[in-house]
Amino acid sequence: MSAHAGTIDHHHDHTTTTGIPNKKLFMWAFLASDCMFFGALISTHVIYRLHPTPEGADPTKLFSIELTSFSTFILLMSSLLMALAVGASQKGKVEATRKMLLGTIFFGLIFLGCQVYEFTHFVHKGLTLKSDMFGSTFYTLTGTHGVHVAIGVLWLVLMYIRTFKPTDAGKAWVTRAVVQFMAFAVAVVSIMFVMLAVTHAGAEHGYTLSSVVHALQHDAITSGAALAFAVSTVLLFTLGRSTWAVDFGEANAIDVEGMGLYWHFVDIVWIVIFTVVYLLEYL
């Protein structure tokens, strides 16, 4: 399958001995090694679950299968957006690449938010890294995966900023791109606060317009979050209009593809973790 709209064959590199681009070959070799890393962590968790210590926590009383299912679905959809970002970059479509990268970042942040919420809930219930063997293996495994996702999100952010590099080297583009991304991050976090407040108000007083307005005025944090969302959204759309020619195109698709390989790997590791760590506990 060669690139359709472009001039580069993204699956063959004539300059290398194997015909495979070096960056892609390196990434596949790294992912193969990461398989062994996660294999060791997963097998450790499974072994200690086969013989649980008598005073250990009961996972089925802690787990929320709804939350975990939701975060699994979110990560799957982020994988879709990442695949579309790679496809867009291979066609030299910079705007589409940016949108798909932002979408992947957004879904990745939601997944991380769900993990943080889940860990906070577990710690509140007494499950910590040293409370029992289940806590040790669970947090080591899922925490390592979470760190992989966080590194992936950081890499995506850097990739997104990179898409704004102008062909004219004299332009101060980094600051503007960073400010734009900060606006995006503020918009994401603030809308999460607002939605949480509206959900709580709706659960208490019913989902009506007056309860939504009351929720937004209820405390300074929610009001501030609503204002921050409005301001950051305007800033995002204003700064997102890059009118200059950028030094990013089809030639950079190999970098986006390498990023994509890492992100999809993180997704397939979660597929295994979701089944082995969460679903099997219910049997």
Partner: protein
């Protein structure tokens, strides 16, 4: 000439749409399989069958992501070989560890004493 160029452009556009739809379809299949897995654990069927089906469904999701989303199907065979070397080594390590540590002899001595006490108390 211009009609040939426009036909080629249309073919490319169709191919691009096809790839987009393929990715979306695969994502929907992955979501459906995840839903099936969640329902499966609550069904009143024998445990070995549930575990086997969960493993099979996870394998299907795994293969869909690596061969289509990660483009392994369309890349050179060497990439597949390289990744599967790591995967086979990882799988072999997992299998070996489970074979070594799963028997009853691997239960910690302190835990054995407590299990024996509880079993005696239950009688």
């Amino acid at each position: 000439m211009s009609s040939t160029v426009s036909e080629t452009t249309q073919e490319h556009a169709h191919a691009d749409d096809g790839k987009f739809h393929l990715f979306v379809q695969i994502a929907m299949i992955l979501a459906v399989i995840t839903g099936v897995e969640i329902v499966l654990i609550y069904l009143p069927i024998v445990k070995w069958l549930v575990v086997s089906m969960l493993v099979l469904l996870s394998l299907v999701k795994f293969l869909l992501v690596i061969f289509w989303f990660m483009h392994l199907k369309f890349d050179k065979l060497f990439c597949t070989i390289l990744f599967f070397i790591g995967l086979v080594l990882a799988g072999g390590t997992v299998a070996a560890l489970l074979a070594i540590f799963s028997p009853h002899d691997s239960v910690p001595l302190s835990a054995q004493a407590i299990y024996a006490e509880r079993a005696a108390a239950a009688k």
